[in-house]
Structure formats: structure tokens, C-alpha cells
Symmetry: C2
Subunit: 319 residues, 2 copies
């Protein structure tokens, strides 16, 4: 598929799903499709939402989606779930969540549990964001579990990042070590009808007060719940929009988009290179032979890598 | 420093610390040093230890270190702590833990909280492992927090990986989704004097039973505590050594080392390439000019990346 099907531009979810699969599965023509979509991107507002497992992120995202729909805006949701053979990963979640919004043309939900894809989940997520953006979604929400580097990498593409915490669930100052706190633009204390909410709110505010001289934007801390009925969602969305206004006023929004596009380009440069390397490695020949010698400790990795780089470049020169 | 100081070969901790700093800080001569250390590596047994924040990993590692020392073997510890400006990262931990083993020549502890280093924490950790290995440590223990991709990347270099769980601390089946369960060779149920230990042990065993046909080695589940006095540590180390014996008998140990050395070489190839790219980006000239055009949306990232690759290769051709 080198041409974007007309149905995609006409707003057919079936075509959106098809293009996302093409990107996710790394099918031929993917790069050409992304190149063609590029001029149509940059309009969606990208909202990141992250937190520990069990923080109630999925329900919170559903409530936020409902709130966005009340305003007649459209939204794409990417639920990134580093899957595990032990849990079955994103499959169950996908089925449950598809039902709720299945008949709504203004919502498209996609769970991603790709493992081991070249370039990783962060790369694929960014590409799926682009597809949803080009499709014309007003919002793209990326929901991720966890505190690792790969989740942080995903969140760097968000315009506003909401960190979801829950009282009692081990989301104490301990877990705040892990790096997600740095990327928070807004805090949601979810399940706020549970005991421990006051303490957690106090802790987060205290921590933010200690940082006041380092940060320009002080993340608001909002209480939300989805247990019996959704509460605090309007306020959460308003906090997100305050952050959006702040970014716009200060010119940070445009600046961040510029930086992101540059980094995206460098990611592609590195990805293309890695593809060239892997082609050499998987083909019988001098590169794979040399790697065998490294494995046998006959050649050291540093000498070998210099040779491999030279060989790949010599090949490209000929081509 | 292109020569390895004699003190390093003589077992001086001061020199070990100096070489680790050179690697961590990416100082000139680093690659030459790693190249020279390479022939002396491959002898240490690499033990990974991971789990959620608050699982008591540090105390458990200290107990394991004491157990190893009882056997008159030497051990290097790398505590990887993705630091955060909110918590101060690894600094506090470093000070506390240095004290206990400060007078013991057979133990060397290093906390790592490097952020944003080129190639990331995983790359630097691997290099520090090499330095400790070449120094002659019998064991190298890598301790990491969390469940993200970057922690998993670090753990792939371990010969045996211990996943530490604690009862009640949210370490239920929920958190097992996140991918660390797949890399476990041994489970330690730590703080086993706390309520919920039986349930958690049952859950983990159940989960392992469900997987029996997929895995060759069934990870043993060991109970440990460090609260009043350390218990279960001998049994934990014996479980680790059973896994070691298993790897040796099946030939997996040698095979994994071979694969690891190959991957290490490819990592260097990619890292060298990224360095070339960053040199071009940071220098005023056609690459940085083109990136500005991409940021202004005058050129798309895909067209730009193809040009950048060609330019870098043309430069190398001349050199």
C-alpha cells in the first residue's frame, strides 16, 4: 500500500485500523505511508497518561474520553501494555474496552502489546500517534503502564502528561523515585474515595513545593474517581487545558513540536542504519563470520565493530 | 588513560573506582581501556536482582554479599537507580551502603544514577560489569528497580536473574504483567515474615505451573527476610547455584556468553554510528540546517533522514 486509501481521508475507522496495523506490523510500504501522512500531522493534542499497574488508568481514560466527547471533539486512544506471556497482555483489555466506544465514530481505541519489534514500543507508538493525528483526531491519548525508560520515551511525545497515583497502592514517596514524577504536568490522585487520599495529596504537594525553584509550571494535583460514578474528570480536563494554554502562551508548544520533529528525523537515521547492520548480520558472509570470531573470543568487540562499520559503508558506497 | 594502571591488576579498589568513573563519565580513552580489559573478562558470574521499589532489594543484596563472603569469594555490586531530582537518586543509598563493606577488600559497591548518558544506563551498566569482571571479582551483582524495558535490557546480561517480590506491596498477579516475570530464573519472596506470604507464594507457583510446557527451567521460589535477622539467604544462594549448574550442564552458559558478546559488538557498531550522527548534528552545517527545515515542516523527516545518511557516509568515504 503506497497510496493512502480514500476511505482514510473520509474518516472510515476500518481504514484507520488498517493503516495502524501496517505500521505496527512493519509491513512493506510503511515508510512511504508515514511520509505521505506527515504533512497532515501536527494538529492533534497529545495527552500522555501513566502510572503503576492497578492505578485505574483505563477507567480514568474512559472517563476522560467521555468528557472530550461531550465537547464534540474526537479522540484516539493508544493503550500501551508491555505484554507478558503470563498475563496475556493487552488482549483482554482490548476486547473489554472496544465495546464501550464501538458505536461512537468520534472514538478509536487501540491496544498495543507489540514485543520485540525493531525500534521498540516507543517507536511504534509514535508512529501510531502520527496515523491518528493525520486521520484528524482532535486528541490522541497514550496510556502506559510503568516507570521504566521505555515508558518515559513514549511520554516524551505527549504535549501534556498526567501521572496517575492511587492512595494505599504503594504509590508513596518510594515509588516517586522512579522517574515518572519528572515528566508529570498534571497529577491525578485516582480512587480518591479510598483511605490515604489526604496523605498522598499532601505528600505530592510537599514534593512539588520543594521543587518550586526548579520548575516553571507547577503541576496541579487533581482528585478523581471512577468507582461508582466518575468524579473530578471535568476538573482534570480543565487542568490539562490550563497546561495546554501555558505551553501556547510561552511558545513552548511550538518549540516542543519543533524539537520532536528533529528528534524523530534522527531516530529514523539511526533506525535505517540498524536495519543495514541487521541485514549484514543475518546474511552469511564476512560480518556474520567476524561475529562468530568475536563470540569465540578470537577478536575483541571493539576491533570487530570498527571493521563492520567500514564494511557497511564500503557496501553503501558501491550501491 | 590509555594504559590500565598496575594498581588495578594488583587489586586496588581506588583504581577500580577510577576506571569505573572513566567508563561512567564517558571520558577520553574509555574505549581503549575497555578493549584492553576485554581479554580479562568472562570469568565473573553475573547475578541480576530486580523488583519493585520497596521490595527490600538493597538489604537482600547485602545479605547475599555476606553469604558470598563467607565462602571467601569476592563480589562487585552495581546498584542501578534511575534517579530523579525529586528523590536525590542514588546518592543517599551510596553513602549508607558504602559503610557496611568499606573495610572489606572482597566487596566493592557502586551506585549508578546516570541519566541521559549516550546509550543509556543499560550500556553503561554493562561496561561497569566488564570492569569489575576484569578486576577479578568472582561475582558481579546488578540490582535494578522496576519493570521497564531499560531494566529488562540490563538484566539480559545477567547469568541468573532473581526477581524479588514482597507480600502485600501490590506485588500481586497485577504487577506480574509487566514483564519482569519472564526473566526470572529464581523468585525471592522477601519480607516473608509479613502477612500475605503464603498467598503470594501460591500465586507465583500457580503461575509457574501454568507455564510448565513453555519453560525448560522451573524457577524455584525461595522465602527470605532481612527484618530482624537474615533468613533463607543460604537457600537463595543455593537456588542461584542450581541454576548456574543447570546452565553449565546444558551448555546454555557458554551459548549465552557467545550471544552476549555478539550483541555487545553490534551495540558498539550502533553506538559509534550514533556518535557520528550527533557530531554532525551539533556542528553548524548542512545537517543542522536540514534539521531546521524539518522542524519548520519544509522537508519531511523521511526525505531528510535519507539525505543525512548519505552525507555522513560521503564524509566517511573522504576520511
Amino acid at each position: 500500500m503506497a497510496e493512502i486509501p480514500q476511505g482514510f481521508w473520509d474518516g472510515e475507522h476500518r481504514m484507520l485500523a488498517r493503516l495502524i496495523s501496517l505500521v505496527e506490523d512493519d509491513l512493506p510500504g510503511k515508510e512511504e505511508v508515514l511520509r505521505k501522512l506527515h504533512p497532515h500531522t501536527g494538529r492533534a493534542y497529545i495527552l500522555g497518561l501513566t502510572g503503576s499497574p492497578g492505578a485505574g488508568k483505563s477507567s480514568l481514560v474512559d472517563s476522560v474520553v467521555r468528557e472530550i466527547r461531550k465537547r464534540n471533539q474526537t479522540v484516539g486512544v493508544i493503550a500501551v501494555d508491555p505484554s507478558s506471556p503470563f498475563s496475556g497482555g493487552a488482549f483482554l483489555g482490548d476486547r473489554i474496552r472496544m465495546n464501550e466506544h464501538a458505536l461512537d465514530d468520534g472514538v478509536f481505541v487501540r491496544s498495543m502489546a507489540t514485543r520485540g519489534s525493531l525500534g521498540g514500543l516507543a517507536k511504534t507508538s509514535k508512529e501510531v500517534v502520527k496515523v491518528m493525528d493525520a486521520f484528524g483526531m482532535d486528541w490522541v491519548i497514550i496510556e502506559t503502564v510503568g516507570v521504566g525508560q521505555s515508558e518515559l520515551d513514549i511520554m516524551y511525545i505527549a504535549d501534556t502528561t498526567v501521572v496517575v497515583l492511587t492512595p494505599g497502592a504503594g504509590d508513596s514517596i518510594q515509588s516517586m523515585k522512579a522517574g515518572i514524577m519528572e515528566i508529570a504536568d498534571v497529577f491525578a490522585i485516582n480512587k480518591c474515595d479510598m483511605p490515604g487520599t489526604d496523605t498522598l495529596t499532601l505528600e505530592v504537594n510537599l514534593m512539588l513545593d520543594m521543587q518550586d525553584d526548579h520548575i516553571k509550571w507547577r503541576p496541579p494535583v487533581k482528585l478523581t474517581t471512577n468507582l461508582n460514578k466518575a468524579e473530578g474528570i471535568t476538573e482534570l480536563l480543565e487542568a490539562i487545558e490550563s497546561h495546554r494554554d501555558y505551553l501556547n502562551e510561552k511558545g513552548f508548544f511550538a518549540e516542543r513540536r519543533r524539537e520532536r520533529t528533529k528528534n524523530e528525523t534522527l531516530d529514523i537515521v539511526n533506525y535505517q542504519w540498524q536495519r543495514l547492520v541487521m541485514e549484514e548480520v543475518n546474511r552469511p558472509g564476512r560480518v556474520s563470520d567476524l561475529l562468530e570470531k568475536v563470540a569465540a573470543r578470537e577478536v575483541d568487540p571493539y576491533t570487530a565493530s570498527a571493521k563492520i562499520i567500514n564494511w557497511i559503508i564500503a557496501n553503501l558506497k558501491k550501491a
